[in-house]
Amino acid sequence: MATLSTDLNYLQAKKGLFSWIFSVDHKRIGLLYLYSLMTFFLVGVTLGILMRLELLNPGKDLVEAKTYNQIFTLHGVIMIFLFIIPSIPAVFGNFFLPIMLGTDDVSFPRLNLLSWWIYIIGAIMALSTLLFGDGPADTGWTFYAPYSVKTGTNVTMSVLAAFVLGFSSILTGLNFIVTIHRLKTPGMTFLKMPLFAWALYATSWIQLLATPIIGITLMMIVAERFFGVGLFDPSIGGDPILYQHLFWIYSHPAVYIMALPAFGIISELLPTFSQRTIFGYKAIAFSSLAIAFVGYFIWGHHMFTSGMSGTGRFIFSILTFLVAIPTAIKVFNWVATLYKGSINVQTPLLYALAFIFQFMIGGFTGLVLGALATDIHLHDTYFVVGHFHYVMFGGTGFAFFGALHYWFPKMWGKMYNATVANIAFVILFIGFNTLYFPMLIAGLMGMPRRYYDYLPEFHLPNMISTFGSWILATGLLLMLGNLIYAYFNSKTKPGRNPWGGITLEWQTQSPPPVQNFDRMPVLPKDGPYDFEHKPTIKE
């Protein structure tokens, strides 16, 4: 076995702020993303809690209607563009993709750093609307024309921010595609690649191909606002439906940019904590590609009430149901992976199990929305709000937290208090479901979304939902507090492989050295999850 230089790990190698913000080490860039993402996430959470407070009772509780509209827009922009789209790929993809492929960095390390800088510039632009100009946009994160063309708030800056953030996403996608094609360690073929890498591969193609469309669409909004070109505003000859098509041609595939990496995380957590090979490796790997592909053709289901022809609605509805099939295949394979395993119930596994449960609710409510008759009733109601929070937060968000607990010992070489982590998980799980399940009920009752005030009959579900937001916030704070405490105070050294994982990151030191591996990684004999022939790892 060849021995590589191991004196210092990546955290110790260099000191000082500049050694971080100009680092080209994919691990440091991953952490830069983590810290910036979590900061914006907490801003988004705060805005969300303010919204729930306002909706505690009918009528005004806290803020004026216009402020409320700005809050929900900023909440959406931050959570979508600054948190959930970059989340798993930018943090865990950056940190672990090269290590899992057995290489020392991504293909283009400097481009990777540029992505983070572009992300930060975009984020500053988005948040600058709080301080400069005519206030944050009040259009909703979808920026629907012609309202977004007419409103006096600072739509231009928000839209430009999303435009800039798009480049960050495109460059990360490009970097990962090339890395996966070119830098896999000798002996690792596509079909011996960990499923997290497969998920990132499918995601990266969507980032690369779909993001330019939103970029140009948002620039068209800017052109419309400044020069009155007449693209989307019918009073000057434009077509608002054109905007909706262009917007959703990106933004529906973007849903899979948000969800596919989470599937990848779950496909890593289940084999590790069941100590057995994944069930249906190929089915899981190829279903990611199928979802990425079919996901391009179903954007029209966001427009079932926009006056589309009956034929159009028929086609988009049937295609929407098709995307449910690869998703169902994944769920079945995950559950089958638990079968006859030797299950070690640890915090990351709890997040994975909660993911499966909540993601199923997200998926099944998606079926209700994909069917035409029911969508007509539920379109643009709180049912939709509940549905996508189940997918995005209950799904991707929980996978993100699961990944954070899974790789925490690897990233920092420290261990958190598992009991506190489990208690935080339970509070978070209860809070999440108390917060979002009543939204499904309010939607069925007919409460439209983006509502500052509501009819008295919607009071009960809204009240319960607001209580849920307090439980959820408690769980979040406890979870983050526990991890931050461990980061500063933990004396427990987890060693190389605290969970008995099999992918290559568990063969190196915790935290990894700058070059990622202190000795050549050894691939398991029959594929990435061959627990039967798990290479023995010496400390």
Binding site: Y147, K150, Y281, A371, T374
Partner: protein, 303 residues
């Protein structure tokens, strides 16, 4: 959910029950199996795992079965939806207008109202017209919703089959007072509908200016009693001196016939200080000079 009150409710509710039924069955089933596995194959009970890589028969089964089930769901969704696009020939046509933040309805005889009254068991077709931004006409009890898209003439129809008063809500975000954009549909027997129509259609003795302003929803944003809404109140406004912003420059003007006329035709040209630009659409195409004169005449009375 609200009890259905239109002929569509049955089809929509049936597809909802079928999809939720299948979904809940699988949600509960899969979750139960998952929890069972976690206990049954816990490392204490099952210290050595079996390495099962997959099973093609099972993969085929759990591809084919969901495919069939989602096609069933699609079918019921489509069947529940299809009648919503086939308007019967005998439908009564009402124009439904949406503008920030008010619905109004124009009956075949030209009468304009804020809320709708329709006869029971009578198909009604709504021609959906937006005067500014996107809105959406949503009647939860009827299970219907369709967007009002400016520049595009969407339509929808319904046949109410239960008497009562039903809420109409705007379901597409349309700005500041979106959640207050409400109306209602009252379903009555045909005899009572005819009586109602005769009463609302009778020539009223209200000021012609007031009638025009009501028709164009001016009072949603401009009060008559001095209170500040989205725009300045009309009370005592005629002859008053105001600071307005013209192309970014502040100047003092006196509110007279010319200013009011310009504010209706080009509302964003001179915006009174402290109010937001861009919220009011130009009304030059819907209100002519004669009508503007009536409006000015009416505003003069609001002292």
């Amino acid at each position: 959910m609200r009890t259905g009150a239109s002929t569509f409710a049955e089809g929509v509710d049936l597809s909802l029950y079928i999809i939720s039924g299948i979904s809940i069955f699988f949600l509960v089933g899969i979750t139960a199996v998952m929890i069972y596995f976690v206990f049954r194959y816990n490392k204490k009970r099952n210290p050595t795992a079996s390495h099962i890589e997959g099973n093609n028969t099972i993969e085929v089964i759990w591809t084919v079965v969901p495919t069939m089930l989602v096609m069933v769901m699609f079918y019921y969704g489509w069947m529940g939806f299809k009648p919503m696009r086939n308007v019967p020939d005998n439908a009564m046509v009402i124009k439904a207008y949406g503008q920030m933040w008010k619905f109004s309805f124009e009956y075949p005889n030209g009468t304009i109202t804020d809320t709708m009254v329709v006869p029971i068991n009578q198909p009604v077709k709504l021609e959906l017209i937006s005067r500014d931004v996107l809105h959406s006409f949503f009647v939860p009890a009827f299970r219907i919703k369709e967007d009002l898209v400016p520049g595009k003439n969407n339509y929808m129809w319904f046949e109410a089959n239960r008497e009562g008063r039903y809420d109409v809500l705007c379901a597409e975000y349309c700005g500041q007072l979106h959640s207050y954009m409400l109306s209602s549909i009252t379903v009555v027997p045909e005899v009572r509908y005819n009586e109602w129509l005769a009463v609302v259609s009778a020539k009223s003795d209200e000021h012609p200016g007031l009638a025009i302003m009501k028709k164009n929803a001016c009072f949603t944003c401009h009060s008559q009693d001095g209170s500040k809404l989205i725009g300045p109140s009309f009370k005592g406004i005629y002859g008053k001196k105001e600071i307005v912003v013209t192309d970014g420059v502040e100047r003092e003007i006196t509110i007279d016939d010319a200013y009011i006329s310009r504010s209706i035709k080009e509302p964003n040209a001179d915006v009174v200080q402290g109010y937001m630009k861009g919220l009011m659409i130009p009304y030059g195409a819907v209100i002519n000079d004669e009508q503007i004169a009536d409006i000015v005449d009416y505003i003069k009375t609001l002292e």
